[in-house]
Symmetry: C2
Subunit: 377 residues, 2 copies
């Protein structure tokens, strides 16, 4: 029996989603821009998917731009807004996804853009006061994630949106981890990224919600698809699957959140019994499926390997580069004691996670930690 607990990294495609996608492999495959009947049928499938999503997030269908990935959508939002604006200052936080941070760094280096990277508090929360202080006359965009992919902390998006609106600055939120959250909140923002591959939809689809009237440049030029904002023949298959997946996860989100929160809190409680362990992220204002714990004096790769041997698949927060291990930029920003910078584990639960799964982890993990610490001393 394998135990997959890395749902924040990738999710399987649900059978109901796959079923919805089935006709689009070799029956309805025409180019949606073709004006013959099969083309119109393909177009209809895409527009149905768009309408379905629009009704879930409470937007107009024409405010939804389908992209190929969360990263593409985030790049479109950040670069697109900057390039369409005379203003050249962006506000973001230090704990954003790399797609945000690297897009910003590129604009700083090559497109004369200034970026403010806000600190966060010990729970990973961005402060409203800090945002307000950072705003200048040259600010063209605030981009903040909805929930952090590593530590699960949920940002006060509603309040941030109110402030952004007060200053008439577009706010983009990275909602790549937002499947289980209330997406109607998105109404307050100007741009929002959602993706398919983290919510049991297929890889290859994401969307950027762009509030009507927002000035933005496309990243991809060509045939003028997606309201002239994202040229490319539409990936019908992935779009149809994405819409179905979003519908399913949003329909069951309240009960599923409740179920996962119980499992999460049980496992957190158990793991914090391990000596010298520490929860990262906010204790309550966090994703229902996210657990992030640091263990003092532990090499996280060895930890991962030992769990892998037991067919328990989790993740670390750090990014391994060729020869060194960089501590995660997210964990680093929480400014923990140095001993807690490494030895970091992200356990993300999902639709197939059972009580037995988390019990097994709670049972196995302490002995592995003990063994590793013994070995080290």
């Amino acid at each position: 029996m394998t135990i997959y607990l890395d749902y924040s990294a990738a999710t399987p495609v649900l059978p109901e989603v796959l079923k919805e996608m089935q006709p689009y492999f070799s029956e309805i495959y025409a180019n949606p821009s073709s004006i013959h009947s099969p083309g119109k049928q393909a177009r209809k499938a895409i527009e149905n998917a768009r309408s379905k999503i629009a009704s879930i997030i409470g937007s107009e269908p024409s405010e939804i731009i389908f992209c190929s990935s969360g990263t593409e959508s985030i790049n479109l939002a950040i670069k697109g807004i900057l390039r369409a604006s005379q203003k050249k200052h962006i506000i973001t936080s230090k704990i954003e996804h790399k797609a945000v941070l690297e897009a910003c760094r590129y604009l700083e280096k090559y497109e004369n853009c200034k970026v403010t990277y806000l600190d966060v508090d010990k729970y990973g929360l961005v402060s409203l006061e800090d945002i307000e202080k950072a705003i200048t006359k040259d600010t063209c965009l605030i981009t903040i994630h909805h929930a952090n992919n590593e530590i699960g902390t949920i940002q006060p998006i509603k309040e941030i949106a109110e402030m952004a609106n007060k200053y008439k600055i577009p706010l983009h939120i990275d909602g790549c981890q937002s499947g289980l959250l209330d997406l109607k909140e998105k109404l307050g923002v100007t741009l929002a990224t959602l993706n398919s591959s983290k919510i049991y939809g297929p890889k290859g689809a994401a969307l950027l919600f762009i509030k009507r009237g927002t000035k933005i440049h496309p990243l991809l030029h060509g045939g003028g698809q997606e309201f002239n904002l994202r040229s490319s023949t539409e990936n019908i298959l992935a779009i149809v699957g994405f819409a179905k997946a979003l519908e399913l996860i949003q329909k069951s989100r309240e009960e599923e959140s409740e179920r996962l929160t119980k499992l999460r809190d049980y496992l957190i409680k158990e793991l914090l019994k391990i000596p010298d362990s520490k929860l990262n992220g906010h204790p309550t204002q966090r994703l229902p499926n996210n657990i992030n714990i640091s263990f003092k004096d532990i090499d996280e790769d060895s930890l991962l390997l030992h769990l892998d041997e037991q067919q328990i698949y989790v993740s670390t927060s750090s990014a391994c580069t060729a020869k060194s291990i960089e501590p995660s930029h997210v964990i680093k920003a929480l400014a923990p004691q140095k001993e807690y910078l490494y030895g970091n584990l992200r356990i993300s639960l999902g639709i197939f996670t059972t009580k037995e799964d988390v019990e097994k982890v709670a049972q196995i993990l302490p002995s592995i930690i003990e063994k590793l610490r013994k070995h080290k001393n």
Copy 2:
């Protein structure tokens, strides 16, 4: 019985391709960047696909960057090369795909780039002499399509590549219609775009071949996937399907080209018997599956509609905009007599096209044309 003859616009996914993709929906779905066993398994699938394609086009695996679409790959090539270069002049032709033309126009408008749009001869061929004349000290890229998607004309890529190499200017070829062509030719170029959705693979995958040592900026920044040139969680499903589709089409390309060429030439011969009809594109140096014919005094949308009623699905070359019909930029560049600017039909054959299909078109089309002309007068 429906007759789909729009294979240059979109192809169905072949059963063998779908079979190859099957495990990647809900069995092997982990994030290829995850370092646990399922992650490694996903990584392996992608690298196998990359190696398979590399051996087909004769490149190193690390010279292949997976993207989400032909349009993305073309945008990456053109914008990426320009942004990484001090030189700011691009040479292309007037009959490129919109992805090339619109990317160039964007760079002209916003990034201080100069673009030469070369004329073509009456067959749609780019002249080597014209390219050489257009080269300046500031030229950073030549971008020419391998075969034209509307009129099927195949460009003398080998010769263009030799010239580009002589002047040490990177040559990008748009190979979105190249499935049936000899891809080893690509060895002579610096960059080449190939895509999946026109060769019976799934939508959502394409590649940019980038010769080692070429300086290029990414379009998408983030996690550093695809050798730091295209960040995004890899779309395993589509990548695996793409590799299989390319393998299949290349394996059978000689016999399939022969088969399609016969059907093509038969249908061209039959259709040219219709009074006041004219073949567009080169008579022999053209894609085995492409037929493009203009009919004098014909409204092409009515023609399409009448064929659609007979469940025959073909395409026109023109792009319908809201209230006017613009003649195709490709047909326009061939400088035909004015009466042949409209009334244009592209018939593109494919793997499921039979002799009966083309015979039926040859039988039905003349009477539709006759009816439409009568109606007009």
